[in-house]
């Protein structure tokens, strides 16, 4: 079979078409709502829309007010314009936290995606006690973060904890996983991946379940290798779910407070301080409400930009 035939077969397979099948695309049916029905829907939606605007709009407006004033949690204070934003953006602590947040998010999203993808593919094969295995793999996501962070602390915090002791017994020294700035960053990211991979695994498992197995049979008949099937059928077919899970995990990572705060408190010497931890500490430990809320605003804007970019990718993958 020629390469062209294989590519053509894979292309058909990606679209979920059996070999030799008609491949007809059903015509689009555009339904038009009557004006009366539109009005009814409008009035039915209105209460929910009003509630949503109040629930999200009020805090957003209040936060905007706080970010542009020099007050505290009780009093608004004086209007200072963009001074809080200028203060934050000129602070080395902000940029250090932004840098950590970026790495934490990249490792958190792609690390958990890779582990989740691997396990989802593994669970697709017939393995003994697959159901039990699946439930056990969900535990890191299900267990409250307070419990899992305590467990991780117990595993790595002191030189006599389990994992440092293991390293010592293997003649690899005594790594201080939470006391060394680099190791603490790595530990926090590993903890995030450990907590998050079950979510990715579930998302990918659900996407894989909707893929017709005959697509793979067709690809095999066309001579596609396992790797070709993975890269040209599996990945494209789960692309939509992948982008959605990336968007969600990016939001989870950027906004993740407990994973970091409970394990390291942002230390040592701010090595694991993310933007959300910095915002919290600025508002509730330094009682500097304006700059703290300004950090939160900048985070929100960044998240919106990232989400829009990834959402465009979803639309692009749907069109393809």
């Amino acid at each position: 079979m020629s390469s062209t035939t294989t590519q053509s077969g894979l292309s058909r397979a990606r679209r979920g078409l059996a070999p030799g099948g008609p491949g007809a695309v059903p015509g689009k049916r555009k339904s038009k709502l009557s004006a009366q029905a539109t009005r009814t829907f409008f009035w039915l939606l209105l209460p929910s829309v009003v509630l949503l605007v109040l629930i999200h709009g009020y805090p957003l407006i209040y936060a905007a007010v706080q970010a542009t004033h020099d007050g505290d949690l009780l009093q608004t204070g004086n209007f200072v314009g963009g001074q809080n934003f200028a203060t934050v953006l000129s602070s080395p602590a902000f940029w250090k936290a932004a840098q950590f947040t970026l790495w934490f998010t990249i490792v958190g999203v792609f690390g958990s995606w890779l582990v989740g993808l691997g396990l989802a593919l593994l669970l697709r094969t017939k393995i003994p006690a697959g159901g039990t295995f699946k439930v056990l793999l969900l535990l890191p996501w299900v267990v409250p973060i307070v419990v899992s962070s305590t467990a991780w602390n117990w595993l790595v915090a002191t030189p006599d904890s389990l994992i440092p002791s293991m390293f010592r017994n293997l003649g690899m020294g005594t790594p201080l996983f939470l006391a060394d700035p680099t190791l603490a960053s790595v530990t926090v990211m590993a903890f995030k991946v450990w907590v998050s991979f079950p979510f990715m695994m579930m998302m990918i498992s659900a996407a894989l379940a909707s893929v017709d197995t005959t697509v793979y049979e067709a690809a095999s008949m066309d001579g596609a290798s396992r790797w070709q099937q993975f890269t040209q059928i599996t990945l494209p077919l789960i692309a939509r779910s992948t982008y959605i899970s990336w968007i969600l995990m990016t939001i989870f990572c950027v906004n993740d407070f407990p994973t970091i705060y409970l394990l390291t408190g942002g230390g040592p010497v701010n090595a694991t301080t993310s933007l959300v931890v910095l915002a919290y500490r600025t508002v509730f430990q330094d009682f500097a409400t304006g700059p703290g809320v300004a950090i939160a605003f900048l985070m929100t804007m960044t998240l919106v930009v990232i989400s829009v970019i990834l959402y465009r990718q979803i639309r692009k993958s749907s069109v393809e």
Partner: protein, 440 residues
């Protein structure tokens, strides 16, 4: 009734109206809250809302609730009791106070009263002090505990327990290391070196998530050398020679391996485990360490206060306090409740529920307290030399809240105990960090 209405008992418009009303109900209810919750029940004096923190085990809160609910004021006033968790406590208080649903009386953060005083939410306790003078309790206060709460406008709060910082040691480790207890800085260094040889640390501390002991240890060493964060006029004064000298000494402890290199990440639980496991030979901790770490064998003992190189002798104390708020069903009832509650505090020490020092001499003399030689030593030797975070100034203020647990102090303590910078650089960064968050 016409035929149409019979077929459609619920018109679309009516349904929408009902939906909108249902949706608006919680909003209206929320708007209608306000101060009505303050005075419900409790006769003419109303119900005094008392908010308390989890200061010890749940048994403490049960006992405190019993005391609060046992209050019966002259005008039929009653008191209600509510526990507020430490997590985000300042936000909890702030939002409740802003919405006029906050407490009339509360315990809380050490400097919380001064923060809310700045915002005009605190009712001064001068009349409470007058009543304590009248009933004899005023003279029962341990020396100096009330003074930090006196502002130009009056008493901002009334202390009820002292969270002391004292040096503890494990006797068996000192015997094993064959070294004497430190009495000054050079002997602290020598003891630390000797303890290191037997696998223990001579300056146990921690700066991990939620652990302020390293912060307190740093300030304590400054104060112990006649320094401190503020000068006598209450101005920020971190770069003084005494502070530099104190931090250079701590850095010497670090370079000699006397401070655990992993301490920067230790939570209070990790620290307690170090004490329990015999890894901690000496270090700054709170009252009731044996009970806290679970070793009541008598091997953990309170050490003597140490003397700084210039003859100074001091430690840190956090006088936890009870404050009254302007939003109350009756100021008289709030005052009456506070006087009543202070009069009942002995129950908490009688039941051995507290991990702090009482503020009243009579409680320190009760057998339930005085039977423990560690307690007696703290009252006799440590309490008289204790200074607040305001040292070298005398009066507490709202700015101390930004110091205690703030980012500048955390970063400073972590920098010092990891030996990442020299004393002057670390202090300079600390000073700049504090200046940026302190209210002018």
């Amino acid at each position: 009734m016409n035929a149409t209405s019979e077929r459609r008992p619920f018109s679309r418009r009516g349904f929408l109206g009902l939906t909108a009303a249902a949706a608006a109900a919680p909003l209206l209810a929320a708007c209608g809250g306000g101060s009505a919750s303050q005075g419900g029940g409790g006769g003419a004096g109303g119900t005094v809302k008392f908010w308390d923190m989890p200061w010890a085990t749940p048994a403490y809160n049960d006992a405190a609730k019993g005391i609060a609910e046992g209050f019966s004021g002259a005008n039929g006033a009653k008191a209600s009791y509510q526990i507020i968790q430490w997590n985000n406590f300042y936000q909890t208080f702030s939002s409740a106070i802003a919405s006029k649903t906050g407490p009339a009386v509360s315990t809380g953060g050490g400097f919380q009263a001064f923060q809310f005083e700045q915002q005009g939410q605190i009712a001064y306790a001068d009349k409470v002090i007058d009543k304590l003078k009248a009933n004899g309790q005023f003279d029962d206060f341990l020396p100096g505990v009330l003074d930090p709460f006196k502002s130009d406008k009056g008493y901002v709060a009334v202390p009820w327990q002292l969270d002391m910082r004292v040096f503890w040691y494990r006797k068996s480790l000192f015997e094993k290391a064959n070294v004497a207890l430190p009495t000054d800085w050079p002997s602290l260094l020598e003891a630390g070196k000797a303890l290191k040889k037997v696998g223990a640390f001579g300056f146990t501390t921690g700066a991990g998530a939620g652990n302020n002991y390293a912060n307190h240890s740093m300030i304590m060493m400054m104060v112990n050398n006649g320094g401190g964060v503020w000068n006598k006029d209450g101005e920020l004064d971190l770069m003084n020679d005494r502070n530099v000298e104190a931090m250079e000494f701590v850095l010497e402890l670090v370079s000699n391996g006397i401070i655990d290199p992993a301490a920067v990440s230790y939570t209070t639980d990790n620290m307690s485990a170090q004490w329990k496991d015999g890894k901690a030979g000496y270090g700054l901790f709170q009252v009731n360490v044996p009970q806290r770490v679970g070793d009541t064998s008598g091997d953990l003992l309170v050490a003597d206060p140490i003397t700084g190189p210039h003859g100074d002798k001091a430690t840190l104390v956090f006088p936890n306090n009870i404050m009254m708020y302007t939003n109350t069903p009756s100021q008289e009832a709030s005052e009456e409740f506070l006087v009543y509650y202070l009069g009942q505090l002995k129950q908490l020490w009688q039941k051995k529920l507290m991990s702090a020092l009482p503020v009243f001499k009579s409680i320190t003399e009760m057998p339930e307290f005085a039977d423990d030689p560690n307690n007696v030593k703290i009252v006799k030797e440590w309490q008289p030399i204790a200074k607040t975070f305001a040292a070298q100034g005398s009066t507490l203020n709202a700015n101390l809240a930004a110091l205690d647990g703030g980012q500048a102090l955390n970063q400073f303590s972590q920098t010092i105990i990891t030996g990442k910078a020299d004393a002057k650089t670390a202090l300079q960064t600390f000073q700049s960090g504090l200046e940026s968050v302190l209210k002018k």
